[in-house]
């Protein structure tokens, strides 16, 4: 949109310039046209003046001639006066004609010859008058002068006519020229006017369209502003601008609300704002604002304000420089009320502390279980072994029976304490995974079970395992438990055979990975040929203290497989069991690659 508006702006400038130019042209044309008209009128006037003078000249000449003739006939002196005044008038006529024809060389030449002819005519007149005064009337000289004078008169008349004709001719030519010019002028003026009008129309159209776009944009801007206002209210934000050059601030409505005030209820100055800032934060914030004005940037800052009702709110502010078209430096900033976040954070921290306390208590309990409970039990067992060794023979039969019962109960308690301790150890969250050699861990697990392996003549096969990211002691415990189980629940008549196999599987493809993230998993199967179990108990065997057999048949605490499950949960993996009664069982464990 920006480029369009620049384009429009340029067009408007060009149209405006053209319009101005055209109006100037029209002015010029009109001026020239008027000038032409005036010239042509002058011309007509001039021609008429010349023609009039020429006709006057001729009339005066005739008058002079008639006066002389009258004098000769009647001999009245009044004719002589008329004759003399006629000659004066002729001279004046010639003088005026001379002035009028100054700029026309041809008329000047005509005037010269006319001048001479008139001179001759007047000479002949004065000669005949002279002859008459001397009484030599009808003398040959008189007659010849009279005749010659008459001829000259005709000559003069012709010359004057020629001059009049010449003036008329010039006038006619000029008038034709003017007429042509005057005919074209209106068309040119008119077309220029039309062009100007068109330009104005186009400019008007563009301005109108721009105005419409501007109006639409304005409306959108208003909507945006309103929604920004709303979102500020909902998200507890306030916005502000700071004109760095003039140190002038503007606060949004919600900024006032964050401060606990009515929108625009006080002047938006930094001083007024500072009155709300918590007194412990004033110094820090003042420095930060000073830095903001110098560096023209405001990184995230945190401070507190105190509302008029004494409520303390935690705020977070951030600002960035914006340079507008006029080159003004403005900081546009946002201030968020993070009191709820801070409170939630505190709550979480408090809960975390509580959890940590609880965890510590649990650890302390673990210690009690591991150490303080073990110790008396160990002593009971040691004393029993002393009794068994030294005093056994002195006991009655029932005493011997009780003795063996006590021994059994004590061992069972030891087993329970050991397993519970093991179970709580797998709870620890501070165990980190490391790249471990699974083959080594399996080997160590076999060593832990070595007595049972030897006594039951068990055979254990295992695939070559790749290294995996695991918590080593937990995975070792897992194998100890699984191998231990396979040995414990073996058939009496055949030696146990345990196969530990490896495969790499993909999570969506294997149905045993329903709730796990997609990707590849190490699948390790521990397969035995023991007594197995019914498939319906496959889930139940992993729950704490659950057992499928009575204690008389198989010793156990019901904790071992729960430990395994917990270990796999710690590894974000899974463990499943498949069993067939009297055939064996398969435990599958999945560890993410």
């Amino acid at each position: 949109m920006g480029s369009t508006s620049t384009y429009n702006n340029n067009f408007l400038k060009i149209a405006f310039g053209l319009g101005l130019f055209v109006i100037l042209c029209i002015g010029g044309f009109s001026y020239k046209h008027t000038q032409d008209l005036r010239d042509s009128m002058e011309m007509v006037k001039h021609t008429y003046e010349v023609n009039l003078e020429l006709k006057n000249l001729l009339a005066n000449l005739k008058n002079t001639e008639t006066s002389e003739h009258g004098f000769i006939i009647i001999n009245d002196s009044s004719f002589i006066d008329s004759y003399n005044s006629g000659r004066i008038k002729i001279a004046e006529n010639l003088k005026r004609i001379n002035i009028l024809t100054q700029d026309n060389p041809e008329q000047r030449r005509n005037l010269d010859s006319l001048n001479k002819a008139i001179g001759k005519r007047l000479f002949y007149l004065s000669e005949t008058l002279q002859s008459y005064k001397l009484g030599q009337i009808r003398s040959p000289k008189f007659i010849s002068s009279f005749k010659l004078g008459n001829q000259k008169m005709t000559n003069i008349r012709e010359q004057v006519q020629a001059m009049i004709a010449h003036e008329d001719n010039i006038l006619e030519i000029r008038q034709i020229e003017n007429k042509k010019a005057l005919e074209r002028t209106p068309i040119i003026l008119y077309s220029i006017l039309i062009l100007t009008l068109l330009l104005l129309l186009v400019a008007y159209g563009i301005i109108n369209r721009d105005l419409k776009v501007l109006k639409e944009n304005n409306e959108q801007l208003n909507i945006f502003k309103e929604s920004a206002n709303l979102s500020e209210i909902v998200s507890k934000h306030g916005s502000w601008t700071c004109n760095i050059d003039q140190d002038v601030y503007e606060f949004s409505d919600n900024f006032y609300r964050i401060l606990g005030e009515e929108p625009q209820s006080f002047e938006s100055t930094i001083e007024n704002f500072m009155t709300f800032v918590h007194k412990d934060d004033v110094q820090k914030l003042t420095t930060q604002v000073e830095n903001m004005l110098i560096e023209k940037n405001l990184p995230f800052i945190y401070y507190r304000i105190v509302r008029k009702n004494g409520e303390i709110r935690h705020l977070k502010a951030f600002g960035e420089l914006y340079v507008n078209n006029e080159g003004e430096n403005k900081l546009i900033g946002t201030t968020a009320d993070i009191t709820d976040e801070v409170n939630n954070f505190r709550l979480i921290e408090e809960r975390n502390e509580e959890l940590e306390r609880n965890n510590k208590e649990l650890s302390a309990f673990n210690y009690v279980a591991s150490h303080d409970l073990q110790e008396p039990l160990r002593k009971i067992q040691t004393f029993i072994s002393r009794l068994d060794e030294k005093e056994y023979e002195k006991l009655s039969d029932s005493g011997k029976l009780y003795m063996s019962r006590i021994k059994k109960a004590a061992s069972r308690m030891r087993l329970l304490i050991d397993d519970l301790l093991q179970f709580s150890r797998t709870n620890k969250s501070d165990n980190v995974t490391e790249l471990s050699d699974i083959n080594e861990l399996i080997e160590a697990a076999k060593q832990e079970n070595i007595e049972a392996i030897i006594s039951k003549k068990a055979i254990i096969y295992n695939d070559e395992m790749p290294t995996m990211m695991v918590i080593p002691f937990q995975i070792k415990q897992l194998f100890i438990n699984l191998i231990g189980n396979a040995l414990k629940y073996s058939k009496d008549d055949i030696p146990p055979v345990i196969n530990i196999t490896y495969a790499k599987v993909n999570s969506p493809e294997d149905k045993n990975l329903p709730n796990l993230a997609n990707g590849y998993y190490h699948q390790i199967c521990v397969i035995d040929n023991g007594i197995g179990f019914e498939q319906e108990f496959a889930e139940k065997i992993f729950t704490l203290f659950s057992r499928l057999h009575s204690r008389d048949e198989y010793s156990g605490t019901g904790i071992g497989l729960s430990i395994c499950k917990k270990i796999m949960e710690n590894h974000k993996g899974n463990i499943t069991a498949e069993g067939k009664l009297n055939e064996g069982s398969i435990f599958k464990i999945y560890i993410p690659c």
Binding site: S370, H371, R378, K379, T382, E389, F473
Partner: protein, 148 residues
Amino acid sequence: MHNNTINIVLADDDEDDRLFFTEAFEELKIKSNVSTYNNGVLLMEYLNKNDSIIPELLFLDLNMPKKSGIECLVDIKKNPRLKNMIIAIYSTSASEEDIEKTFVLGANIYIKKPNDFKKLKKALSEVVTTNWQYQTDNLNKDNFLLRL
């Protein structure tokens, strides 16, 4: 070594354990001179005396009042007169943490107190008959914990 009387010291705050310990040595028929101390402070007071006989073997309980076995171990290893003494940790717990710590601090062997008197005798006799000269050179984390 068997021909001479061996000086053995036990530091343990538990009366019963001290009883088992002394009884076990009585039954083991090893010429031994066993003395016991009720806590770490008393033990260190004895060891730090200039005229004290430095025992060939020290059995050290970890969890004792006033001064723990770990603190005693640190002090002993700092003292040039005592630092070559063979030290067996003799504790109820066999937590990885304790085993690791005492191994690093320079103990020679870690015995988890057995719950059977016969096993106790076996463990003690094994420790006493071990050729420590040889064993110390081959000491590593895997054979540090005595297996019975």
